[in-house]
């Protein structure tokens, strides 16, 4: 029972971090119909920058979020305008291939800068744990999960309470309609992409404490995040949160009861099961294709 509770709580905490990372991915998909395969590479990049900040000037990885969020926001905005904007009227396949190419390119760059060895960020509290009854909760996990929830909550506030948030949601639901009521959908798309990448920046800083990483880790991360948004329903933010919590718990349960070597397979199994049984995911909606193509 303790074992189960421990796995459940740790799974939910990790799920909070996944939720933050997956929100950015699903937000980008919802607004511009782009699957950003480079999302995993962005978060690994953020993790490496966090590592350097921690190593060189001793900055706490969770504090590094304050630096990384605006940094990655600017990076995302530039990248969107340089690469994705020119092909936003091309068929959807183009953007998948493009972001996949970006992911590989970033992987190469990170390999050149930081080398292809495993890195991890270890602040002093890394080895400490909270003890509640018989439960041992590593501090890094607890802090990481809580910070992710705070960042995620502020992202929700931006999306629900600000004009930009309303513009983003309007562009997602009906781009033509949004244009008609004065929303510059192209600029909103650039900002959305930047927000998505910024959330990968914040999430990457947190993830750097939770898992060791190397440039090639981005494949595992993107697989995880894609599994989450497929499960939750592509483009749905609440869906991403539900999917993330499910995946976090499912991974920890797999580690606890089946074996850690199978944990990476959980998201792939998610993808297969969801696409077989309920292709639209938990909270996704089926689109009216006849109208969409008209």
């Amino acid at each position: 029972m303790t074992e189960f509770l421990q796995a459940l709580i740790l799974g939910l905490l990790i799920g909070g971090v996944y939720a933050l990372l997956a929100s950015g991915l699903t937000l980008i998909f919802g607004v511009m119909n782009v699957i950003n395969i480079a999302h995993g590479a962005f978060l690994i990049l953020a993790a490496f920058v966090t590592w350097s900040l921690w190593r060189e000037i001793g900055m706490d990885p969770l504090l590094a979020i304050v630096v990384l969020t605006p940094l990655m926001f600017g990076f995302g905005w530039l990248l969107y305008n340089a690469t994705i904007r020119p092909i936003r009227r091309a068929p959807p396949a183009a953007s998948v291939l493009l972001t996949f190419g970006l992911a590989l390119f970033l992987e190469g760059i990170m390999g050149v800068i930081w080398g292809n060895t495993s890195h991890s960020v270890r602040p002093e509290y890394f080895t400490e744990s909270f003890q509640i009854g018989e439960l041992f909760l590593p501090k890094a996990q607890v802090y990481g999960g809580l910070v992710a929830i705070v960042v995620l909550a502020s992202l929700y506030l931006v999306l629900t309470r600000s004009w930009l948030g309303r513009a983003i949601r309007a562009s997602a639901v009906n781009p033509q309609g949004a244009e008609l009521v004065g929303v510059n959908v192209a600029s909103v798309a650039a900002l959305t992409f930047a927000i998505g990448v910024a959330s990968a920046g914040a999430g990457g800083a947190i993830a750097s404490v939770l898992y060791p990483f190397l440039p090639g880790s981005h494949y595992q991360w993107i697989a995880r995040l894609l599994g989450i948004i497929v499960l939750g329903g592509m483009g749905s933010l609440p869906g991403a949160v539900i999917g993330a919590l499910c995946l976090g718990v499912a991974e920890l349960m797999t580690v606890t009861y089946i074996g850690p070597e199978w944990a990476t397979g959980v998201p792939y199994v998610f993808v297969f099961i969801v696409l077989l049984l309920r292709p639209q995911g938990i909270l996704g909606t089926r689109l009216r294709q006849d109208v969409a193509t008209a």
Partner: protein, 625 residues
């Protein structure tokens, strides 16, 4: 791909310059291409005999592995339009099949190469089953998940695969004098067979269906293309030879491990080969593969591989998507065509009058005989979108041999009724009966096979296909033999040409559908569904958005087809057209059938006037008749 502006082409004229011109130039083009390809094939064929340079033999061997992978990928990505980032998995699956069979059962690796093909094909078909319900992005995600899942299995299933330790295959036993020849020529043979398959698919009914799926999957289903079967077959076809090549490749490098065999870079190189060379072309994937392998070697030699390969291939993928989206071969032929066609005007459009359009008074539509049995019966059909009840218990019958109209104010649910009958949408309640068979739970293609053909309110053609290909794509009934039937020549093509003749579009047979004017598209869509030889033809606003002469002509065609026994159900807003052509007329309002009868009866029905105009309107004179 680049269809912007094509729809803006003026009525009756075709785009010059960019539009694919008539057959002649491309035939003239063909001979230098053919010669070039023949020389290249001969050079590759005799190279190992003339030169004992193993470095280049190795490079060509790897190029051919990529090429086989890319030609296979072309079937699903190029023809059917499904992007796969996991194609490399089938090379690994083939290699592992051979490795495992040799270790556990024994025998020469060569014996197991065909088995590798079968295993890869079977797994691909299985992936196709999952992919039946995944389109676009979901499918891409599925292919990534597939690759990683297979890699995970190869890593963790120690008893079968020896995990990360990998499998070592026996060293070849033949005389060293023969160098890599057995690998070389086996792969060359496999590449030849793959290309033959690709060529065959591109010109048979199966390939037309695949391209139709790429262009518009829902529409393809309504013209009888049983999309799940097509996709599963396409997946299997895309993997069989790749699996075999993987088996040969595994034997060639003699060591098989999860990291090497299921490396995502392998998939990247395969998809890059296809994109760079040109999707949906025969030789593009081969050209691309040779370029990619050359880059691969260069990065290994000049920059010691690793990160350099990631930078080169990642960067190249970005550049190709941004600046060369169509690939080398299509872009090159496009420029050559333009250069040849410089200063020449495009194929001019033609007035559509004069063909069998005698000046005569159209006969008043006659009522169907009272004993005519209903061909189509709709009972209590319901469909709502959120809170909107678009169709709310609609019931009506279409008598066999009639031209029945379905009219009603905007938003009354006419098009939704069409979608429910045709199967592009599922109804929430009610029944659809067609000639004694219940239709409403059947998929669209089965409805088409039973004899139901429909057009769309806004025409939906397969835009990148030629006019002729659009007409040969529909499938009248499903059996495997028909899939292999030649589509671009022979019986199917002749039939298509007759139909094009009937609608007056034969001249345009080799023009791309995206270059047609709206009126021409309407005619083509009619010819397309006639290919199904339907018993009931459902037309959604055949007279919408086209000029009066063409409207009259379409009316003539409907009468002509009707006299040959076709039943029609027509949704239309053009009242003179409807009232002069159709009998009975069904009136739909708020998702229910409120009236039916002859045009005269319906025009005088107060409920109809009320639905259209509000109750205070009084008709001074009957319209039309």
């Amino acid at each position: 791909m680049t269809d912007s502006g094509a729809t803006a082409v003026a009525e009756g004229t075709l785009k010059g310059g960019g539009a694919p011109p008539s057959q002649a130039p491309s035939k003239a083009l063909r001979s230098p291409w053919t010669a070039l390809i023949a020389v290249a094939v001969v050079l590759v064929g005799v190279f190992p005999v003339l030169s004992d340079d193993l470095y280049y033999q190795n490079m060509i061997i790897l190029s051919m592995v990529f090429a086989i992978g890319a030609v296979g990928l072309n079937v699903i990505t190029g023809y059917a339009g499904y992007i796969s980032l996991g194609q490399g998995a089938f090379i690994g699956i083939g290699a592992y099949t051979v490795g495992i069979c040799v270790t556990d059962i024994g025998g020469s690796p060569w014996v197991w190469v065909p088995v590798a093909g079968l295993v890869a094909g079977a797994l691909a078909a299985l992936l196709g089953v999952v992919a039946m319900r995944a389109r676009g992005h979901a499918f891409v995600i599925l292919t990534i998940a597939f690759l990683f899942l297979v890699q995970l299995l190869a890593t963790n299933w120690d008893s079968l695969t020896n995990g990360t330790g990998g499998i070592t295959l026996p060293i070849p036993t033949w005389n060293v004098e023969y160098q890599y020849w057995p690998f070389y020529y086996t792969l060359m043979g496999l590449l030849g067979v793959s290309l033959l398959m690709s060529w065959w698919i591109r010109r048979n009914k199966f390939g037309m269906g695949l391209i139709a799926i790429r262009e518009d999957e829902d529409k393809a289903a309504t013209v009888g293309v049983s999309t799940p079967t097509y996709k599963i077959l396409a997946f299997a076809a895309s993997a069989v030879f790749v699996g075999m090549a993987g088996g040969v490749y595994g034997y060639y490098i003699s060591f098989i491990d999860p990291l090497g065999m299921f490396n995502i870079l392998l998939s990247v190189q395969i998809i890059l080969s296809l994109l760079l060379g040109g999707r949906a072309t025969l030789w593009g994937p081969v050209l691309g593969a040779f370029i990619i392998e050359w880059l691969n070697e260069t990065s290994n030699n000049e920059f010691s591989g690793g990160n350099a390969r990631l930078l080169i291939f990642g960067g190249l993928l970005v550049l190709v998507v941004l600046f060369l989206p169509r690939g080398i071969i299509p872009t090159a032929s496009h420029w050559i065509e333009r250069w040849r066609a410089r200063g020449r005007a495009g194929l001019a459009g033609e007035r559509l009058t004069g063909i069998d359009l005698r000046e005569r008074e159209a006969p008043a539509p006659s009522a169907p005989p009272p004993d005519a049995k209903p061909l189509l019966e709709v009972k209590g059909l319901e469909k709502s979108f959120g809170g909107v009840r678009a169709v709310d218990g609609a019931s009506f019958a279409v008598p066999e041999g009639s031209i029945t109209a379905l009219i009603g104010p905007n938003g009354s649910g006419k098009t939704t009724v069409f979608n429910l009958i045709g199967g592009t949408m599922a109804s929430q309640a009610g029944e659809v009966w067609f000639d004694g068979q219940r239709l409403d739970r059947k998929p669209p293609w089965q409805r088409a096979h039973l004899g139901l053909g429909r057009t769309f309110q806004i025409t939906r053609l397969f835009r990148e296909m030629t006019v002729l290909e659009n007409v040969v794509a529909p499938l009248r009934g499903f059996h495997l033999g028909l899939l292999g039937a030649d589509a671009v020549s022979g019986r199917e093509a002749r039939r298509a040409e007759e139909l094009l003749d009937f609608v007056g579009m034969r001249k345009y047979r080799d023009v791309q559908a995206s270059a047609l004017s709206y009126g021409q598209q309407k005619l083509l869509e009619l010819a397309q569904i006639l290919m199904l030889d339907p018993r009931l033809i459902m037309l959604d606003e055949p007279a919408g958005g086209i000029n009066p002469t063409l409207i009259e002509r379409i009316g003539e065609m409907i009468r002509e087809l009707n006299s040959r026994g076709k039943t029609f159900l027509i949704v239309e807003h053009n009242m003179p057209f409807v009232l002069g052509l159709c009998n009975p007329v069904l009136v739909l309002a708020r998702g229910q059938t409120i009236a039916s009868g002859s045009p005269d009866e319906v025009q005088r029905d107060p409920k109809v006037l009320d639905a259209y105009l509000g109750e205070d309107f009084r008709l001074e004179q009957p319209v039309g008749t």
